[in-house]
C-alpha cells in the first residue's frame, strides 16, 4: 500500500473538471497527472492550470507527447462517445494503461459500484454507463437480488444547466446506453430509460424515478429492505443520494401488458430518488455530475490497485 498512481483526464468539460477536483481533494490513491482538453480557453483547462495541474490542449496526441505520459497509470475519458471510440483504439496500444470511460461509448464492460465493480477490476477499459444509469441501476440491482425483474424503467430529470453540449448533442446515447445498463448490470430482462432536461431557475436537484416489475410472489418488505441497503451503500460515496419516499408497491394480479414485449402479472415497485451533488465543480443541484464522477473515481482507484499488483508480480 501507499504507492500512488498518476492519472490523466481527457475532456475539460463539466464531468472532466469535476472529476479532477475529486482526484485532487479526495482520492486516497490517485494523483492528478495531466488534464487534457482541445480548447485552450475552456474553463476546465484554466481551472487545472490555476490549481497547478499539468495541461495540454492538443487532445490525446498532446497527452501521448507529454513528459508525464510514461508515469500515467489510469486515463479517464470524459469526452464523447464518438471521441472515445478513437481514443480507446489508441490507448489499447499502451498495455500498462487502464481506461475508465465516462462517455456512453461502451467499449468495455459496464460497471456500477455496489453491483459489479469488483468483477471487472482486471479490465483494461471499463464503461461507467451514464449518470442516470449510475443513479438508477443500483435500485434495479437491489430488486433483482430478491426477485426476478421482468421489466425496469427509469425517468431521470436533470437541470438543463448541468447538461453539457456533449450530452445535448447525443441524447439518444443516454437513453439507449442507460436502458442496456438496466438489463446487463441491473438484472432486468427488459430496460427502458427516459431523460428530461428541466430549465427551472433556481436549478432543480437531480431526480430519478425507478419502476420495477418483478415476480408477484416477491415480499414487498424484502424488496424495500434490499433497496434501503443499497441506497445506504451508494450514499457512502455520494452523500447526497437518498430516497425521497418509501418505495410504493402495486400488485398486478392481472397481467400488465407491455406492447411488443409481453404480459406479466407482477409486483410493481416505484422508487423516488434525489441526488444532491457535493458541489465540487457545478453547484449542488448537479447530482448527475457527482454520481458519475464519484463512481468513476472509485473504479479508477480499483483499476489502479489491480494494475499495481500486476506490475509487481
Amino acid at each position: 500500500m501507499g504507492e500512488r498512481t498518476k492519472v490523466a483526464i481527457i475532456g475539460s468539460g463539466n464531468i472532466g473538471t469535476d472529476l479532477m477536483l475529486k482526484v485532487l481533494t479526495s482520492s486516497p490513491s490517485l494523483d492528478m497527472g495531466v488534464m487534457v482538453g482541445i480548447d485552450p480557453d475552456s474553463d476546465g483547462l484554466r481551472r487545472a492550470a490555476q490549481l497547478g495541474v499539468a495541461t495540454t490542449s492538443d487532445g490525446l496526441a498532446g497527452l501521448l507527447a507529454h513528459p508525464l505520459w510514461p508515469e500515467i497509470g489510469v486515463v479517464f475519458d470524459a469526452t464523447s462517445a464518438s471521441a472515445h471510440l478513437v481514443h480507446a483504439a489508441v490507448l489499447a496500444e499502451h498495455p500498462t494503461v487502464r481506461v475508465v470511460d465516462l462517455t456512453p461509448a461502451a467499449v468495455g464492460p459496464y460497471v456500477v459500484p455496489v453491483a459489479n465493480l469488483a468483477a471487472h477490476r482486471g479490465a483494461r477499459n471499463v464503461n461507467m454507463v451514464t449518470c442516470g444509469g449510475q443513479a438508477t441501476i443500483p435500485i434495479v440491482w437491489a430488486v433483482s437480488q430478491v426477485a426476478e425483474v421482468y421489466y425496469a424503467e427509469i425517468v431521470a430529470s436533470i437541470s438543463s444547466r448541468s447538461a453539457g453540449p456533449g450530452t445535448r448533442a447525443n441524447i439518444d446515447e443516454f437513453t439507449v446506453t442507460t436502458a442496456r445498463g438496466l438489463e446487463v448490470v441491473g438484472g432486468a430482462s427488459r430496460g427502458k430509460a427516459i431523460i428530461v432536461l428541466n430549465p427551472a431557475e433556481p436549478p432543480l436537484i437531480m431526480r430519478d424515478t425507478v419502476y420495477t416489475l418483478c415476480d408477484l410472489a416477491a415480499d414487498p418488505a424484502a424488496v424495500t429492505a434490499s433497496i434501503e441497503r443499497v441506497v445506504a451503500e451508494v450514499a457512502e460515496y455520494v452523500p447526497g443520494y437518498r430516497l425521497v419516499q418509501a418505495p410504493v408497491f402495486e400488485r398486478f394480479e392481472e397481467a400488465v401488458r407491455i406492447p411488443g414485449y409481453g404480459a406479466f402479472a407482477g409486483l410493481k415497485a416505484t422508487t423516488f430518488l434525489e441526488v444532491e451533488g457535493a458541489g465540487h465543480y457545478l453547484p449542488r443541484y448537479a447530482g448527475n455530475l457527482d454520481i458519475m464522477t464519484s463512481a468513476g473515481l472509485r473504479m479508477g482507484e480499483l483499476l489502479a490497485a489491480a494494475r499495481l499488483e500486476e506490475v509487481r508480480s
Binding site: 439518444d172 437513453t175 439507449v176 431526480r207 419516499q245 411488443g260
Partner: protein, 341 residues
C-alpha cells in the same frame, strides 16, 4: 416538405396521437383505422399517429398502449389515399431507431418535440429526419413559459438543423390571445421556414387562438375531432373548419365527414368527457402540461388528495412535460403534510 399553395392552411389532425392521452393510449386498431378513413375522406392534410408521448412512449410513466406502434402505423397507412401520415418523437423518450422504424412503415412527416428551452437536443433527430427524406417539423412545447424573444431563438435553432416548419406548441393551453398573436407573428418575421400552432382547450380558447394564429400567419395548425386530446382536449377540428369556412380561410377540408366522425366515432369512445371542466381549467390557469390531467386524477383518488392541489404544486415546482413521475411524488408529499381532499 409540404407546400402551402395560395395561402391554404395545412391542417394536421392529432386525434390519433394527442387523443391517445384522453383514452389512456387504449385505441383499438379498428377504431384508429375507422377514424383515419373519415379524416382521409375529409381531405385533412396530415394525420398523426403515435403514442401520446411520441414514438416509444410506452411506459409505466406515461401508460402502455393497447397495441404496438408498428401495428397502429401500418393499419392507418394502408387506408390513406389523400392524407399524409405523421408521427411525433420526443428526444429523451424516442430515438432515431424509432424514427427509422416509422419511416420504414410509411410515415411522411416527423415532428420532433422538445421543451421550449431545449431545442438543441432535437438536432440529431431533425437531421436524421431530413436524411431519411421526411417532412420535418420542430415542436416547441410549453411555449407559454418563456418570453417571445427567447422562443424565437429556440425556433431559429430548429430551423438551422433543417426543420421545414417550427411550431408554437401551447401544451398547457395557457396562452392568451395576444400572446399567441405575438409569438406566431415573431416566428413569421424571424424564420424562413413554415410556422405552426398547436394548442389545448383548457381556457376554452382552442378555436379562437388557432384562428388568431392563422391571422398572424401560421402555415400549419393542429386540431382533433371533438377536441380529442390531453387535458380539455385540442382545438376541435370540425369547429375549426366551420369557422375557417365562414371566415373564408382556405383549408380545402370537408366539414360534414368531420362532424360525422366527431359525433359517431370519437365522442362515443371517450371514457372521461374531454371538456373544460374544473381540473382541465386548472391546467390552463396554472400553466400545467395537459397530459398530467388523467395521471393527476388517478393519483388524487389513490392517495386521497385534491387534484387541484397536486396541479398547483406541480406548477410551483416548475415541472415540465415528461415529468409525470413527479405527480405521485407530489401526491405523497401532500398526503404526508395532511392536505387531504
Amino acid at each position: 416538405m409540404i407546400e402551402a399553395a395560395d395561402r391554404k392552411i395545412i391542417v394536421n389532425d392529432v386525434t390519433l396521437r394527442d387523443g391517445m392521452h384522453a383514452l389512456r393510449h387504449q385505441y383499438t386498431v379498428d377504431q384508429m383505422v375507422t377514424i383515419a378513413r373519415k379524416l382521409d375522406e375529409a381531405k385533412v392534410d396530415l394525420i398523426e399517429v403515435s403514442h401520446g408521448d411520441g414514438l416509444n412512449g410506452n411506459s409505466f410513466n406515461y401508460g402502455f398502449s393497447a397495441h404496438t406502434e408498428p401495428e397502429y402505423l401500418t393499419a392507418v397507412r394502408a387506408v390513406l389515399t389523400h392524407s399524409r401520415l405523421a408521427a411525433l418523437l420526443l428526444p429523451g423518450i424516442g430515438t432515431i431507431e424509432d424514427l427509422e422504424m416509422a419511416r420504414e412503415l410509411g410515415v411522411d412527416t416527423i415532428r420532433i418535440a422538445t421543451h421550449c428551452t431545449e431545442a438543441d437536443i432535437s438536432r440529431q433527430h431533425i437531421e436524421a429526419g431530413r436524411r431519411l427524406g421526411m417532412d420535418v417539423v420542430g415542436f416547441l412545447m410549453m411555449a407559454h413559459m418563456i418570453p417571445t424573444a427567447q422562443l424565437v431563438a429556440q425556433a431559429r435553432l430548429m430551423e438551422s438543423y433543417g426543420a421545414h416548419c417550427v411550431y408554437v406548441t401551447d401544451s398547457a393551453g395557457a396562452l392568451l390571445m395576444h400572446e399567441t398573436r405575438e409569438r406566431i407573428g415573431a416566428f413569421k418575421e424571424a424564420l424562413g421556414c413554415q410556422v405552426g400552432f398547436h394548442n389545448h382547450n383548457n381556457l376554452s380558447l382552442g378555436v379562437a387562438n388557432t384562428i388568431v394564429a392563422i391571422e398572424a400567419g401560421a402555415d400549419r395548425v393542429d386540431a382533433s375531432l371533438a377536441g380529442m386530446g390531453a387535458g380539455a382536449g385540442n382545438c376541435p377540428l370540425e369547429a375549426l373548419i366551420a369557422v375557417c369556412d365562414r371566415m373564408g380561410l382556405r383549408t380545402d377540408v370537408a366539414l360534414y365527414p368531420l362532424m360525422d366522425a366527431a359525433d359517431q366515432l370519437v365522442r362515443p369512445i371517450q371514457r372521461r368527457p374531454v371538456q373544460t371542466d374544473g381540473n382541465a381549467l386548472m391546467l390552463g390557469f396554472a400553466g400545467i402540461y395537459s397530459s398530467f390531467l388523467l395521471h393527476t386524477e388517478r393519483a388524487a383518488e389513490l392517495h386521497g388528495v385534491d387534484p387541484r392541489d397536486i396541479l398547483m404544486e406541480l406548477g410551483r415546482r416548475k415541472m415540465i412535460g415528461g415529468q409525470e413521475d413527479m405527480i405521485v411524488d407530489v401526491a405523497l408529499d401532500l398526503k404526508k403534510n395532511g392536505a387531504t381532499a
